[in-house]
């Protein structure tokens, strides 16, 4: 169970694993995620299902190797297995047929955006995609997005790929040119915040996918709680998608830093041991 069938480094330090998970693949809908664990002592971390193949019985996860767990995952080879994968969790994205949706993805958020953008296209919507990354080596899935998007716009902070600038610059231009019915924005929290502030000015419905810390993913711990319209909601059972104009982004940004110190300690310890063992 949960055997890795494919492993690729699709951008600098960003990895793709196609994993055998027959039952999850059958049920996975765009917007849903899984909780992944490796080893008896590993943590449970949430990763979005980037795509699912019912025939092959596999799901694909994409992640950046930034912490202890993702570093360990990235070191697994084809043929290795994850210990536990639980899912599909979360509410699926409410995808409808619209005249025009602009899908905005930032960094690894693009992996989360991909099934949703494709879902809108499959429903017959007009889909434009704006992707942003810090530089060319961190841009993922642009060919995959380009294969179905009506229009694909790329930007990087340093201009090494596409336009030089932020996704909000491109989005503003697109909204002013032809106001869409809905914007879907997924990426780092400051990005989703900036996009939502922009779309609020133009009164465009906006969906975001939140990424708080999680443990169980089934609503029993409250770790992933976020404030939506002043009320507490659990991202794992009420989300992960929410109305972008109702999210308290600042609170989420702060809550995401809760274990920063512990993480760097774990990472240092892990790296040192790996070096010694090699």
């Amino acid at each position: 169970m949960y055997k890795i069938l494919r492993r690729e480094e699709i951008a600098e330090n960003i990895f793709l694993n196609e994993v055998k998970a027959v039952d999850i693949a059958k049920k996975a809908m765009p917007g849903q995620f899984v909780l992944v664990k490796y080893g008896e002592k590993g943590e449970r971390i949430p990763l979005t299902i980037s795509s699912a193949d019912i025939e092959k019985g596999t799901i694909t996860i994409i992640y950046m190797a930034v912490g202890k767990s993702t570093l360990v995952f990235s070191s697994l080879a084809v043929g290795d297995s994850f210990s536990d994968i639980t899912g599909p969790l979360g509410m699926p994205t409410d995808i409808e047929k619209v005249r025009r949706v602009i899908c905005v993805g930032g960094g690894t958020g693009i992996a989360v955006l991909y099934p949703i953008a494709r879902g809108f296209k499959e429903k017959g919507s007009g889909v434009d995609v704006i992707l942003g990354a810090r530089n060319e080596s961190l841009m993922i899935l642009r060919n995959e997005m380009g294969s179905f998007a009506d229009n694909l716009y790329l930007c990087t902070d340093d201009g090494t790929l596409g336009e030089k600038g932020f996704v909000t610059d491109l989005l503003r231009r697109e909204i002013e040119r032809d106001k869409p019915d809905v914007v879907v924005a997924i990426g780092p929290v400051p990005m989703m915040k900036a996009v939502s502030e922009l779309t609020l000015k133009y009164d465009v419905k906006t969906l975001v996918s939140l990424n708080p810390i999680m443990i169980d993913g089934t609503g029993m711990c409250g770790c992933c709680r976020v404030s939506i319209d002043g009320k507490t909601r659990f991202a794992c059972v009420d989300g992960p998608e929410f109305d972008g104009h109702k999210v308290d982004y600042d609170e989420l940004i702060k809550r995401l830093t809760a274990y920063k110190d512990k993480e760097s300690f774990k990472l240092k310890d892990h790296k040192c041991r790996i070096r010694n063992e090699r």
């Binding site: 039952d23 999850i24 049920k27 664990k37 002592k41 590993g42 943590e43 449970r44 202890k68 767990s69 210990s83 536990d84 994968i85 639980t86 899912g87 599909p88 969790l89 443990i215 169980d216 089934t218 609503g219 029993m220 711990c221 409250g222 770790c223 709680r225 404030s227 507490t232 059972v237 609170e251 702060k254 809550r255 830093t257 809760a258 274990y259 512990k262 993480e263 774990k266």
Partner: protein, 466 residues
């Protein structure tokens, strides 16, 4: 003869010293040895109409097993207990005996009741150590297949009862380990996880299959389970959705639901630094609430190295719902009880980490719907307590995942599953439910009692099926 029995005092359970035990996760009550157990067993009057049995939610044949202990026939004692109780090692440790069997013991009227819980634990632990007590007779397979959703105490009981009757049972568990609240909620120092694993292994020996990481309602629906060939389904998913106070500042870093705090520690073993899941320690910890969960959280925080740990509770000592023994042990370990105190607001530092909590003093007024006197704020009595870690243990409600996905399942106004308490039947034919998902947060033994009732009804139903 009875006079002689009455003269034997209730044997004292050996306990780990508070100053030592607050730094380890080993069990606090160390358990009776053979000598203590047999002496305690002598005290039982072997009443013709045992009140203790009436106080037991699963009707353990108490005087009978105690007589076997007295006679040194321990193997027969475990077989006797297991006729009615699938999880004696668990119950002997966590049941609120003072409200159940021991609360009804005749000896308790003028003196101390028989230590029924300790005796049950002794028998169960002995059986675990020696490896006996299994059902030895041949079990004929019925060919019927049952899906149990949830591997907490109620699901495990249903599984055991039905497996012993020859049915094929598959348990679907959302987590990566079985036991439900036994493994994520109750700490190691109250219920060693090795016991839960042992009980699960026993069920597997009976042919029960466990499927982990399976969230029914997401990966499969109940209807799909029937399509896959299951003849009946039992829902024991519990009431794990944590409640919060809904006060300002509750989303600051360093504020946890008790479920989160305990899951990190118990299930994910965050207290062991070789495990990756992190946990946070504080200098000044407050735990809001006074049930067993609050006690567990407070005593865990202490063991993880927190310096000052206080329980903050809006009512008084008499209304505290926790088991007497837990409150007593907590106080011995140095946990403060700030009673008639209610938190109003949390404030954080520049990193959004909690640093203090504003509280108000309370006084008790008229009883509310729970029968307990309603706490009322005393005007102008606000004060602040330094707090860098807060654990909210004010109860939990129905987990919505499965119930949201089964539109035909009739729910109560508070989103619990509506089930006939005398049979466990829900509004869907072939589907039973029991435990906290039906009653709201209660106890391990009550969940087991509900499982017992449902299993009996399910067995009758299955025997009628072609």
């Amino acid at each position: 003869m009875n006079d002689k029995k009455k003269k034997i005092p209730r044997q004292v359970m050996p306990l780990q010293d508070p100053d030592i035990r607050k730094n380890n996760f080993l069990e606090v009550p160390e358990g009776f040895d053979k000598k203590l157990a047999m002496l305690e067993a002598e005290r039982c009057l072997q009443c013709k109409k045992p009140q203790c049995v009436e106080g037991c939610p699963v009707s353990v044949p108490i005087p009978e097993f105690i007589k076997l202990v007295k006679e040194g026939r321990f193997e027969e004692a475990i077989i006797k207990i297991r006729q009615k109780n699938m999880l004696p090692a668990v119950c002997g440790r966590v049941c609120p005996q003072e409200n159940q069997c021991e609360g009804r013991c005749i000896l308790g009227r003028k003196g101390d009741p028989v230590s029924i819980g300790a005796l049950e634990r002794f028998v169960a632990d002995m059986a675990m150590e020696k490896g006996y007590g299994d059902c030895t007779h041949e079990i004929r397979k019925t060919g019927k297949k049952i899906a149990v959703i949830g591997s907490g105490p109620s699901g495990l009981t249903v599984a055991g009862d039905l497996a012993v009757k020859g049915h094929e049972v598959v348990i679907f568990e959302a987590f990566h380990k079985g036991g439900g609240v036994l493994v994520y909620g109750i700490p190691e120092f109250r219920l060693p996880k090795s016991i839960v694993s042992y009980e699960i292994k026993k069920l597997e020996n009976y042919g029960v299959k466990f499927v982990y990481n399976a969230v029914i309602g997401k990966i499969k629906t109940v209807a799909e389970l029937f399509n896959e060939g299951f003849d009946a389904v039992y829902i024991g998913v519990g009431a794990g959705l944590p409640r919060f106070l809904n006060v300002d500042g509750e989303n600051l870093n360093g504020i946890f639901s008790a479920n989160e705090y305990l899951t990190r520690t118990n299930l994910m073993k965050a207290y062991d630094s070789s495990y990756d899941t992190p946990i946070v320690n504080g200098k000044n910890v407050i735990v809001v609430g006074a049930g067993n969960v609050a006690m567990d959280a407070a005593r865990t925080a202490l063991r993880l190295g927190s310096e000052n740990v206080s329980i903050v509770y809006r009512r008084s000592r008499a209304e505290m719902p926790a088991r007497g023994e837990e409150i007593h042990h907590a106080e011995e370990e140095g946990i403060k009880l700030r009673l008639l105190t209610n938190p109003l607001k949390f404030t954080g530092d520049e990193n959004a980490w909690v640093e203090k909590v504003e509280c108000v003093e309370m006084e008790l007024g008229e009883p509310d719907s729970s029968g307990r006197r309603r706490p009322v704020e005393k005007d102008g009595s606000n004060f602040e307590i330094p707090c860098d870690l807060a654990i909210i243990a004010v109860g939990s409600g129905a987990n919505p995942i499965l119930t949201r996905s089964e539109k035909e399942l009739k729910l109560t106004p508070r989103d619990y599953i509506e089930a006939d308490l005398s049979t466990g039947r829900t509004s869907i034919k072939g589907v039973w439910a029991g435990g906290d998902i039906v009653t709201g947060q209660a106890t391990v033994i009550k969940a087991m009692g509900a499982g017992r009732i449902a299993a009996e009804d399910m067995d009758a139903y299955l025997s009628e099926l072609p």
